[in-house]
Amino acid sequence: MNLTSLMDVFTILVFFLLVNSGSVELVEAPKDVKLPESRVETKPRETVVIFVSREDVLVQGKIVARVADILEDQAATIDPITARLAELRENIVGPSTMAVAASQEVTILADKAVPFVVIRKIMSTCTGEGYENVSLAVIQKPSQVAAS
């Protein structure tokens, strides 16, 4: 059996996939959060990450609040998030947590269907805590513009 061509294909595939996976995603979208699509091209940076799914709000991987509670609450800021952000600033363990704490930036990965008021409250909580740069994570939509 002559396997040379198969080998060629596999070798090329393996190298392609290795190179592709080399650009590790800094923030990985969880499966249950459906991000909106946009045409922006800015790359994500290493920042504090806030996930907003349909039910829960996670700050750096830890559940801190529920979306339903935020909707009911009349306050402009969300206290558990404030507490968690302050905690993040104090708990510097390694270089990656230090980069996160020093960035003073927040990336919000929110589900499409989350009401705007929730996002708005999270953003004002972040700016109140000193994280002035807030970014919203989106999936890049293929632009119709041809590369020129």
């Binding site: 070798t11 499409k112 008021v117 929730v118 700016t127 919203l136």
Partner: protein, 163 residues
């Protein structure tokens, strides 16, 4: 005898490399990498937020583009009065008309880059991104070709609550 025959055959094509082990490795690696590969690219929208303590009101002097997204439709104001209001069509925001208005506004005020997107509380977040996309840039088809060209409109976008 059979054994001898086997031995003979091996010496005959000894020039060929034995790739079976390598192939095994490939067969394992390819599906593994295919599964872990991320094909959707994640990007970020950077925001221009009003600084911490709620100074969101547009107390700035002069002209300012504001797009107010309400449940009944979209309104465009210049900071003081409503320029245009775009009612919903079939319970969907009429984003194409909004895009046309944005192009018109940019043509009138080419030196302005700032705009605000103000939203009512219970509108899904998806529309914020869609409206911001429209306010930020427009894709214009080039004549006679199937290509599109991207024009920047109001690139500094702030976000806030609808009044």
């Amino acid at each position: 005898m059979a054994r001898r025959h086997h031995y003979k055959r091996r010496t005959k094509d000894a020039h060929e490399l034995d790739v079976t082990t390598f192939l095994n490795l490939m067969v394992v690696l390819v599906p593994f990498l295919l599964i872990t590969a991320v094909f959707s690219r994640l990007t970020i929208v950077e925001l221009n937020l009003p600084s911490s303590t709620g100074g969101a009101s547009s107390a700035e002097e002069g002209f300012r583009v504001e797009v107010i997204v309400r449940e009944a439709g979209i309104e465009i104001t210049n900071g003081k009065s409503v320029i245009a209001s775009i009612p919903n069509q079939d319970d969907e925001f009429d984003l194409e008309t909004l895009s046309d208005f944005m192009v018109e506004l940019k043509r009138e005020y080419p030196e302005h880059d700032a705009a605000s997107v103000l939203m009512e509380a219970h509108i899904p977040y998806d529309y914020l991104i869609q409206v911001m996309d429209i306010v930020r840039s427009v894709e214009v088809p080039m004549d006679g070709e199937e290509q599109y060209e991207l024009y920047a409109l109001f690139s500094e976008i702030s976000v806030g609550d609808a009044p």
